[in-house]
């Protein structure tokens, strides 16, 4: 059998498989957390929708939308010229919606920031405008609202908008993506960037005040505790800096991606090595570590004396924050990458199977769950 007959057939077979793999339905992405506020919980879905869910209605499993509930669909950017064999993926939402006054603020991955009225889900403004050709880069972190401004990071740097009207106030271009949430302290915006720098910018004008540099990308949001700033980086260290200088650093087994949780002088940090570390913030001393066996992307929460951690094992772990003993394991049958939020003893967990779970802690009882892939009414 000659080359001209057999090899093309084999190559065609292989290439067909590759083509099929590229022409399959797009993979839904995004990991917005669920922000509890008042009687409602606000969350972004993998389909690019923002939902307001009423806890009482969900506990009773009433048809959606019940009173006080709504859903809003964010838009992708206009498609460029090009051939595709499959429809573009929906505009995923990674950042948890932020509440401020009567408005809910959220950014979607393709690069739009929305201000929606919290009561009815109507759009007040969107930046950039939906007809605009302006591109502000991809958005993964949450929106920070402070001093009448909306601050957020994107693949193009750090932006500040007027919170009421959505007009651009300033833009600071970083050397790498800012795929994290920002922090603010004393009119200073802190932003972690993939260029290895933690930037400190003036909140009024966006001018760089100082930066702290590491030789690798920083993907973990900065967290402020007293005068300390903690962040994790791709060098597998959790860094603690003070007054712009390194105070200590702690080495894990892989990158620190999740936002560290700080409480009473202790930092609880989930790592992609599958462990949770409890560290004394002043000294960096390790108090304990607990292995979960799968990467931890989701930021943990503290409920009384219990640390609640979710990982890609599809389990939710309730851990005694003093002894590190796993008190309860709840199976959700789906990995969790979204940050956890808690209110009045209920932890809200957004899993990759598109369900939002409300889990009572420390009992571990699933109070209700809701499938987020709803159609807009």
């Amino acid at each position: 059998m000659s080359l001209s007959k057999t090899s093309p057939l084999l190559i065609i077979a292989i290439c067909s498989l590759l083509a099929i793999s590229s022409c399959t339905a797009p993979v839904s992405r995004g990991w917005s957390g669920a922000m509890p506020h008042g009687d409602n919980v606000y969350i972004g879905s993998m389909e690019g929708k923002v939902l307001a869910l009423n806890s009482s209605a969900r506990s009773q499993d009433l048809p959606f939308p019940a009173q006080g509930e709504w859903v809003f669909t964010t838009r992708a950017l206009a498609q460029g010229i090009g051939f595709t064999c499959s429809p573009p993926p929906p505009p995923a939402i990674y950042g948890t919606p932020t509440m401020a006054g009567e408005l809910v603020y959220v950014g979607n991955y393709p690069g739009r920031i929305y201000a929606l009225y919290a009561t009815a889900g109507q759009k007040k403004w969107v930046y950039p405008d939906e007809g605009s050709a302006e591109r502000i880069g991809t958005i993964v972190g949450e929106v920070l609202v402070a001093e009448d401004k909306v601050y957020f990071g994107s693949s193009e740097g750090v932006y500040a908008l007027d919170a009421t009207y959505g007009k651009l106030k300033w833009h600071f271009k970083t050397g790498g993506k800012v795929w994290t949430s920002l922090a603010i302290k004393d009119k200073v915006i802190l932003a972690s960037s993939f260029d290895g720098k933690l930037y400190a910018l003036s909140s009024d004008e966006g001018k760089e005040l100082w930066h702290f540099e590491v030789p690798v990308a920083i993907a973990s949001p900065p967290v402020v505790w007293a005068d300390n700033v903690l962040f994790g980086a791709f060098d597998s260290y959790l860094h603690c800096i003070r007054d712009g200088r390194e105070k200590w650093k702690f080495e894990g087994g892989n990158w620190f991606w999740a936002r560290p949780l700080v409480s009473d002088g202790i930092a609880y940090a989930g790592c992609l090595d599958g462990k949770v570390y409890a560290l004394e913030i002043e000294t960096g001393e390790k108090l304990w570590e607990r292995e979960i066996d799968n990467p931890i992307v989701s930021s943990p929460v503290l409920v009384e004396d219990f640390l609640v951690v979710a990982s890609e094992t599809s389990n939710l772990y309730i851990i005694n924050a003093h002894t590190s003993e796993i008190v309860k394991t709840i199976s959700l049958k789906s990995p969790v990458m979204a940050p956890l939020y808690e209110k009045e003893g209920i932890v809200y967990v957004h899993a990759k199977n598109r369900y939002l779970y409300a889990v009572k802690v420390p009992e571990g009882e699933i109070v209700w769950k809701f499938y987020l892939a709803v159609k807009e009414s």
Binding site: M1, L3, K5, P8, L10, I12, K177, V216, L272, P295
Partner: protein
């Protein structure tokens, strides 16, 4: 099985690619080019064997056609005579095939490595973290810069330059080794294959990230260079060559020597 594949094939390729980026001024595009050349050089013995086998089979075509005409009505005898001919020539009819099969895992590993290394979304980046070695150079290089010349390596080439290059280089590479056939039906099939493959890969280049298309173009160009030097020229690119190519001559001499012995 997946774990074995990752440990033995994918992770070494992936980490080598990323480490090369770190060495080559942070350029992932340059790393793709260099690694493709290295892989083609490593698999050169297999490529040469494949070319040798192809040329020998082409030299045998007239005799094969004679046997097919002679024993057209006796399938069993036809098979017997054809196998005898292959044996005498010392050629395995599928001998042109297995070097290509051995190279498939390499191609697939490179494809997977390029797609993983680009890590365009947060989920991809987290997945990438589970495949990296503890080499400092690797962690410092990630996430990789996706810009190379006019390209965004994580997206298809919107200017279509790579699409055209993929199709053209593939066509040239194939044409160089595809001898004209005396049988019109065979010639027709040959022409169809010659056009179909480049067109198909060109369409793929419209779909896949341009990092992968860059790999295809470089791989094809290296293949053309190898064929040029091994075959002693452009082969059948501009029609039948005026003098026999060294490899063809060698294959035919070997074949004639074995016939004289028998």
């Amino acid at each position: 099985m997946a774990e074995l594949w990752n440990t033995v094939i994918l992770n070494p390729t992936l980490n080598s690619l990323i480490a090369l980026s770190g060495v080559l001024f942070g350029s992932f595009g340059l790393a793709i080019i260099v690694l493709t050349i290295v892989v083609r050089l490593i698999t050169l013995p297999l490529t040469l064997r494949q070319l040798q086998s192809t040329k020998t089979l082409q030299a045998m075509q007239p005799k094969l056609q004679e046997i097919q005409r002679k024993y057209a009505k006796d399938k069993a005898k036809l098979q017997q005579e054809m196998m005898k001919l292959y044996r005498e020539a010392g050629v395995n009819p599928l001998g042109c095939l297995w070097p290509m099969l051995v190279q498939f895992p390499v191609w697939i590993a490179l494809y997977q490595s390029i797609m993983r290394a680009l890590a365009a979304t947060p989920e991809d980046l987290i997945s990438l973290s589970q495949h990296l070695y503890s080499w400092q150079i690797v962690h410092q290089a990630v996430p990789l810069k996706d810009k190379f010349l006019w390209l965004n390596l994580g997206q298809p080439d919107s200017m279509l330059v790579l699409t055209i290059l993929v199709a053209v280089t593939m066509w040239v590479q194939q044409k160089m080794v595809t001898a004209p056939a005396a049988d019109p039906r065979q010639q027709s099939m040959s022409n169809m294959t010659l056009m179909m493959m480049p067109l198909m890969f060109g369409l793929f280049a419209l779909q896949f990230p341009s990092g992968l298309s860059l790999y295809w173009v470089v791989s094809n160009i290296v293949g053309i260079i190898i064929q040029y030097f091994i075959s002693g020229g452009w082969g059948y690119l501009f029609g039948p060559p005026t003098k026999p190519a060294p490899v063809v001559k060698k294959g035919k001499e070997q074949y004639d020597r074995k016939r004289r012995k028998s």
